[in-house]
Amino acid sequence: MSVMVVRKKVTRKWEKLPGRNTFCCDGRVMMARQKGIFYLTLFLILGTCTLFFAFECRYLAVQQSPAIPVFAAMLFLFSMATLLRASFSDPGVIPRALPDEAAFIEMEIEATNGAVPQGQRPPPRIKNSQINNQIVKLKYCYTCKIFRPPRASHCSICDNCVERFDHHCPWVGNCVGKRNYRYFYLFILSLSLLTIYVFAFNIVYVALKSLKIGFLETLKETPGTVLEVLICFFTLWSVVGLTGFHTFLVALNQTTNEDIKGSWTGKNRVQNPYSHGNIVKNCCEVLCGPLPPSVLDRRGILPLEESGSRPPSTQETSSSLLPQSPAPTEHLNSNEMPDDSSTPEEMPPPEPPEPPQEAAEAEK
């Protein structure tokens, strides 16, 4: 049974998803709301590489080897591909609980904690779970109305719970979580290599040309070189350092979020139960492990409410598809109870320069 082509527009699920994301290409692309810094990232990479290919490569390809622009092109394409993958894919957002499920969990919580008298603040909702013989606490998310899986965290910028939440990266314009961490890591790795490559060959170019026509003449002939060297210099310090930090995290199978909160460090804390104990195994799992598909079903068609409309021909969906929770005005700023411990649960917003190094990077 096929769906007739109807003149009126179908509503896809992404249009009604809660959370503060932007969707493009009819739900195929998913990003955070603030994309300004992402456009800056794109501009800097594209601009620097265009200058490099236009000026230095023409000289170096002829004088040294045509392999130079070829490698640069490969690095450039790889880093652009991984950047776009990291920016546009679903980081592993956990959909919010539907009303039935939320009510069921509420009942369970009340059964465990007992009913709270009116006027008193209920205790923070925590469920203890044993993972690999270590006790891990699962916290209840008031916005999404679920007990967060271990390693998941609620991103206050995107207003979503994200699995294996690493951090929210403004340079990439998206959260970095379970589904796009490898793209993010490969992006910063390939960008580091690209930056080093461009920087090195700019130096070579200036050196070679200066031997022939002098240093100042070289700079006058290709003023873009100065710009490229400056951009690469600042990028090197930030991105290469970041790559080193994330290599350390990958080797230990930790997330930035856990590292900043010190979840696994300290004497009386549990050891990381997710690490295999072996660096190679950890790297393989994080970077080459199986990639779960998105559970958001952004492009699924919402059944239309009007009687004259056809039901979707895709597989049968349950009666209520989306959480009919009210607009997230409640608990917007604190997803934990107000009397929770002082350490913030979510990543602080990117503007303050302290702990989230990724957000505070001085750009190239």
Partner: protein
């Protein structure tokens, strides 16, 4: 012999799967199950995190299902599902190969190829549909694929039927929705 009648356990009769022929009719039948019966309650089987973040569901038998389904059938279903998810998330030679190949093509290969995980999810949804027809729908239960609930829970809907007689139910399985509603209303005691 009414299709789907269970012997002497006090179970209601439900339109059985024998009258179904193809996928479309199966979907119709489950839709009519919902129309001819009213949803009594839902049970949510939570995730089991004892082995880490891999997708596993608790095999603990919920008390609400006590009168509806045998314990082993339920546990077997959940264990099979857990086995499927373990297969999807298995870290081994083939998953590394897939990961490395994808990386080497700058992940462009994902634009045309389906990942191993997606293939297993399709298997899972076929299995759940099969289980619903063979085991759960005859008992007035309906499993929802966890993928539709963000892999958080297995939602089991428990239905109370409005029509008590088997003949009106089996009549509804081939008839249209409106007649089953009418038959159900008339047949209710």
């Amino acid at each position: 012999k009414a299709s789907g009648v269970l012997s002497g356990r006090g179970h209601k009769t439900w339109p059985g799967p024998q009258s179904l022929s193809s996928g479309v009719h199966q979907v119709h039948n489950l839709q009519e199950l919902r129309r001819s019966a009213s949803l009594a309650t839902k049970v949510f089987i939570q995730r089991d995190y004892s082995d880490g973040t891999i997708c596993q569901f608790q095999t603990k038998f919920p008390p609400e299902l006590d009168s509806r389904i045998e314990r082993q059938l339920f546990e077997e279903t959940v264990k099979t599902l857990n086995g499927f998810y373990a297969e999807a998330e298995k870290i081994g030679g083939s998953s590394y190969l897939e990961g490395c190949l994808a990386c080497a093509t700058a992940y462009f290969i994902f634009l045309c190829m389906e990942t191993h995980y997606e293939k297993v999810l399709k298997k899972i949804s076929r299995y759940i549909q099969e289980q619903n027809e063979k085991i759960f729908a005859p008992r007035g239960l309906l499993l929802t694929d966890p993928v539709e609930r963000g892999m958080r829970v297995i939602e089991i809907s428990i239905y109370e039927d409005r029509c008590s007689s088997g003949s009106s139910s089996s009549g509804s399985s081939s008839g249209s929705g409106s007649s089953s509603g009418g038959g159900g209303g008339a047949g209710a005691r």
